[in-house]
Each structure stands twice: as structure tokens, then as C-alpha cells.
């Protein structure tokens, strides 16, 4: 492979060797052909611990090319430790362009969020997955869960949601909310908030999921049906907030709660920093972001 443009001598383009990348791409092709099906792959040791995104990084490394523009987010933010380090890792070993703008990126690796800005045709979203098996909580045997997937025997997943309603009066699962992909396979969407579940459905982007510790990849191809499980009398619903983003005034985004002091003061701000910053640059203002208070709160989101 041509690896002249990157800046780390002694390493192949995108860290992994070409055989490994090809092996992962083969697994990904199978995953795309069987939406939601978990495909085993030969996971490699990566230069960071399991749980920090080794699965996502291997998938990104397998699909990234010289002309890609990479964005990395962690819980929606471009500037947290995980995001910064993975982005600089790929800068070092590929030399590709990186960006914070969702629209500019061709490849987005994410931990626990889908960007607020709608994705477009041709974009690839790579999720970091801690536990790929949605039935693990209910059935510890791998042989049994595979059979259950093969036969679409998913009634037991509803037992978990049923138990939620018994204990909390509503479906209290708020992240990693189980979905049925393309009318067949039950899938864990990785720990994204259920707020993001509707974005999985009929997304124009290719969505790839990598679990490094469990050595599984799975995928949701563009324009695939993704349905969140629910009950007829307890339909699926996303989170709502009583107030808009304190910085940009957005009412349609996923908000993080930030505790300001020990007197019970708090603010809600967009978890997607790039979305929030873009809106502020466009002149949108939230309650705590009037020109006089900007200086005091500028660091609150960092």
C-alpha cells in the first residue's frame, strides 16, 4: 500500500498490517450482508486497553483511506480524552485530515453517541462496542444465544423490558436500548442513549460496530429498518428535557446535565459539542449564554 503521506515511520498505514485489515474488511462485508448479525473476527492487540475503543479503532483502521476525513467523538464531544487520543493516533499512523465538523467528515468514530447533525450518503459511522450480545443479560451460554439469534427467538428480551416496567413503571432502559435490525436480528446499538435510536433507522450512512474484547463486528447498512423493542401499551419514547440547551438554546438535541455548585445549581447543555458550537456561531443563544455571562461559563462545557 501507498503509505507515503503519513508521518510515523516504521508503521504501516493505519497501524494494522494489510492482511489484518483485509481480514477485518471481509468480516465487515459479511456483517453488511447480514444486518445486525455478529461476525467474529481475529481481534488484535491494540496500543490501548480494552474498553477504550479497541474494536472501533480496528474497524476504523480497516476502512480508512488516504482521502478520508476523520472525526472522533466521545459521548458527543470532540475534546475529551478518548476522542483526542484516538484522533491523534490516526493522525500519526495515517496522516489523514481530521475535522470536528460532522458534515465534512467521511468517517466518524464514536463512543456512545450519534451526532446531532443528520448523516449523509457516503459517510461511515464506527461505533465502539463494549458487549455486543444483547441477550447476554438473560442467557449466559453463547451456544444458546446463537441458536436464539438463528431462530429469531427474542421473546426473552421483552422479559427484561417487562421487568423494567414492573420496577419503575416505565421502560427504564435509557441506553444500549435493544433494536431489531431489518426485521430479523436483535442488536445492541452500543451504549448510545435511546435518544439516538431513531437515528439508526433508515440512516443514509453506513454504520459499523466493533467490539474489541469480544472480537465481534456487526453493521447496519444504509437505509435499513431499525426498530426499537417496546410494548403496545408502553411504546418506545426518547428522552425529553424540560429546558433547552443553556448555551445554544437547542430544544431538539441530547442534553448533558452539568452540576455547577453544591447548592443544587445546574445547567443542561448539548452533549454534541460541535453541534452546539456551530449553533452558537450562527447566533443562537441559551439562557446562560447572554453576552454578559459568556466569560463566566465559557469553560463549563470543556
Amino acid at each position: 500500500m501507498n503509505n507515503t503521506s503519513h508521518s510515523q515511520p516504521g508503521y504501516n498505514f493505519a497501524y494494522l498490517d494489510e492482511h489484518t485489515k483485509r481480514m477485518i474488511r471481509r468480516a465487515l462485508l459479511k456483517a453488511v450482508a447480514l444486518p445486525g448479525y455478529q461476525v467474529p473476527f481475529g481481534g488484535r492487540e491494540m496500543p490501548l486497553p480494552y474498553g477504550w475503543g479497541t474494536g472501533g479503532i480496528q474497524v476504523t483502521a480497516a476502512v480508512i483511506g488516504q482521502s478520508d476525513c476523520l472525526k472522533v467523538i466521545d459521548q458527543g464531544a470532540d475534546d475529551t480524552t478518548n476522542a483526542v487520543n484516538i484522533r491523534s493516533f490516526f493522525q500519526k499512523v495515517t496522516g489523514v485530515r481530521t475535522t470536528e465538523a460532522t458534515r465534512e467528515a467521511t468517517l466518524i468514530q464514536t463512543r456512545h453517541r450519534i451526532p446531532e447533525t443528520p448523516l449523509q450518503d457516503g459517510q461511515i459511522l464506527v461505533f465502539q462496542v463494549p458487549i455486543p450480545e444483547p441477550l447476554r443479560w438473560l442467557e449466559p451460554r453463547e451456544t444458546e444465544t446463537r441458536t436464539m439469534h438463528a431462530l429469531s427467538e427474542y421473546g426473552v428480551m421483552h422479559v427484561k423490558l417487562f421487568e423494567d416496567i414492573v420496577r419503575h413503571g416505565r421502560i427504564a432502559t435509557t441506553y444500549d436500548y435493544p433494536v431489531i435490525v431489518n426485521g430479523h436480528y436483535l442488536m445492541r446499538p452500543s451504549p448510545i442513549p435511546k435518544f439516538d435510536n431513531p437515528k439508526l433507522h433508515q440512516s443514509p450512512a453506513l454504520q459499523l460496530f466493533g467490539a474489541g474484547r469480544e472480537k465481534r463486528v456487526y453493521a447496519v447498512p444504509p437505509y435499513t429498518d431499525v426498530r426499537s423493542l417496546d410494548f403496545e401499551d408502553h411504546p418506545f419514547a426518547i428522552e425529553r428535557w424540560s429546558e433547552p440547551c443553556a448555551l445554544c438554546g437547542a430544544t431538539e438535541s441530547y442534553l448533558d446535565e452539568i452540576i455547577l455548585d453544591d447548592q443544587g445549581q445546574r445547567m443542561f447543555v448539548c452533549s454534541d459539542t460541535e453541534y452546539c458550537n456551530t449553533r452558537q456561531a450562527e447566533g443562537h443563544r441559551g439562557t446562560q449564554n447572554s453576552p454578559t455571562s459568556v466569560a463566566g461559563l465559557a469553560g463549563a462545557q470543556a
Binding site: 438473560l138 431462530l151 421473546g155 426473552v156 422479559v159 421487568e163 416496567i165 403496545e232 401499551d233
Partner: protein, 257 residues
């Protein structure tokens, strides 16, 4: 009695050179309670698990009267059909409730599981059915949201019954369901079971080493030894007038109260 619900011919299950059970022929009719008795290691549980097709038989044939197909060789069913049979038309009550229940979810969810497995998606309806079944097995309805681990042994066994009967099975397999219960709880459990079996026209195959259980529940009794059936007949007939020396020994070993 028209045609049998379950028909078994020449059934054998071996573990290598050792015999699990061998030469088993039996017919079970709808609504009939059949008891398999015998000492530990006589092949009772192996036979039960083989009849339920949870162990693959090495020889012979098991035919079951499927609702839509009539008598069918279970060996010809696909895994999907077999698993559907297991969770709809059949039930299993285990000796240890930990094997038969989901201990970490509520009693209501335990009972509702089979309904959800066949596509029930209305929380209110499922919960209503669960409450109804809880009452039928004489567990107070306010325990609906409690986890089975907070239940007594007798309640756990009754919950297992409810969890299985909610899908209206025609055949229930039970492996020593009363073994862990004390005598008074056992009597109440057996009484309940006898009532439900009669009310629902339920066929039951029950394994026990306790001849009193057989006397109370079963119309027909099979006595096993070394993996073979040594005597079979009406329960009272076998217990009152045992023919085989081993059955005679078994009956005479019971302490008269």
C-alpha cells in the same frame, strides 16, 4: 380415549457402554398422569429427558400428537419446531426451582415469559394473565412483583407450575417436583396439581422416588430398574399387588405412617 398423545417404541439412551434406559415402550393418553418410579440411578430422569427430546435417543421412536399434524416422529422435527413445542404445548417443572425459574426477575415476568415468546406485546394483558395464574396456584396476588428468591420453596414450585401452564400446554414433564418440600407443603402442592391436571385435561409425566406421590397423583405407574421398565400398570394395582420382586421390595420398604 381415542388416540395416544405420546407414543414411544423401543426407546434407548446410552452413555457410552453404560445404559441410561433401554427397551422403553409406552403410550400416554390426553389427560393422563403417568408416574415413573424407581430408586436413584434407575434411569428415571434419563427417561424423562429423553421423552422430552432434551436428550437425543440412541434407538427407537417417540411420536407426539402435534396440534396441526397429528402423531409425528419427534426426530423429524427441526430444531425450531422442537423449541416451539417446548415452550408452548409442553411444560417442564424442575426439581430445583432455580433451574426452572428466572430467579432475578419478578414472578409476573416469569409467568409472562412464555406469552412474550409467542408474541404477546401488551404489558397490561400479560400482567393480567400473570396475576390470574398466580391466583390459580394459590400465591397472593400482591407477590406478583416480587422476585422468586423471596418465595418459599413451595411457592417457587407453584410458580414453576404457573409459568408452564400459562401457555396452556397439553403435556407437562416433572422431575421430582416435591423432593425439596416438607410433608405438609408437599400435600398442598400435590392437591393443587391434581386439581389443575383434572381441570385443564393435562397429561403429566412425573418422575418420583416417593410412592406416596404416585399414589396420590398418578393413574398409571411405571417402575424402573437398571434402565428398564420392570412393571407397569394402574397405580393402585401395582402398589397393592406388586408382581415383580423389585416392586415388592420397593413397596415393602415404605414406612407405614
Amino acid at each position: 380415549m381415542s388416540r395416544p398423545l405420546l407414543q414411544v417404541r423401543g426407546l434407548a439412551k446410552r452413555y457410552g457402554a453404560r445404559i441410561g434406559c433401554e427397551g422403553i415402550d409406552l403410550d400416554l393418553y390426553p389427560g393422563e398422569v403417568l408416574c415413573i418410579a424407581g430408586e436413584s440411578g434407575s434411569g428415571k430422569s434419563t427417561l424423562l429427558n429423553t421423552l422430552a427430546f432434551q436428550l437425543q435417543p440412541d434407538e427407537g421412536q417417540i411420536q407426539y400428537d402435534l396440534k396441526d399434524r397429528g402423531l409425528t416422529d419427534l426426530g423429524t422435527l427441526t430444531q425450531a419446531q422442537l423449541r416451539e413445542l417446548w415452550r408452548t404445548d409442553w411444560g417442564f417443572v424442575r426439581q430445583n426451582p432455580r433451574d426452572g425459574l428466572r430467579m432475578q426477575v419478578s414472578a409476573g415476568a416469569n409467568i409472562g415469559e412464555r406469552l412474550m415468546a409467542v408474541g404477546a406485546r401488551h404489558y397490561g394483558d400479560i400482567r393480567g394473565a400473570a396475576a390470574d395464574w398466580l391466583a390459580r396456584v394459590e400465591i397472593p396476588e400482591e407477590r406478583l412483583d416480587d422476585a422468586p428468591k423471596s418465595f418459599s420453596g413451595g411457592m417457587q414450585q407453584r410458580l414453576q407450575i404457573a409459568r408452564n401452564l400459562v401457555s396452556r400446554p397439553r403435556l407437562v414433564f416433572m422431575d421430582e417436583p416435591t423432593a425439596g418440600l416438607d410433608v405438609s407443603v408437599q400435600a398442598r402442592f400435590l392437591d393443587l396439581l391434581r386439581g389443575l391436571a383434572a381441570e385443564l385435561d393435562l397429561a403429566v409425566i412425573l418422575v418420583t422416588h416417593d410412592l406416596a406421590v404416585a399414589r396420590l397423583l398418578a393413574q398409571r405407574l411405571i417402575v424402573m430398574r437398571h434402565g428398564r421398565i420392570v412393571e407397569t400398570g394402574l397405580t393402585d394395582q401395582v402398589l397393592d399387588d406388586p408382581q415383580h420382586p423389585y416392586t415388592q421390595l420397593l413397596v415393602s420398604s415404605v414406612l407405614a405412617a
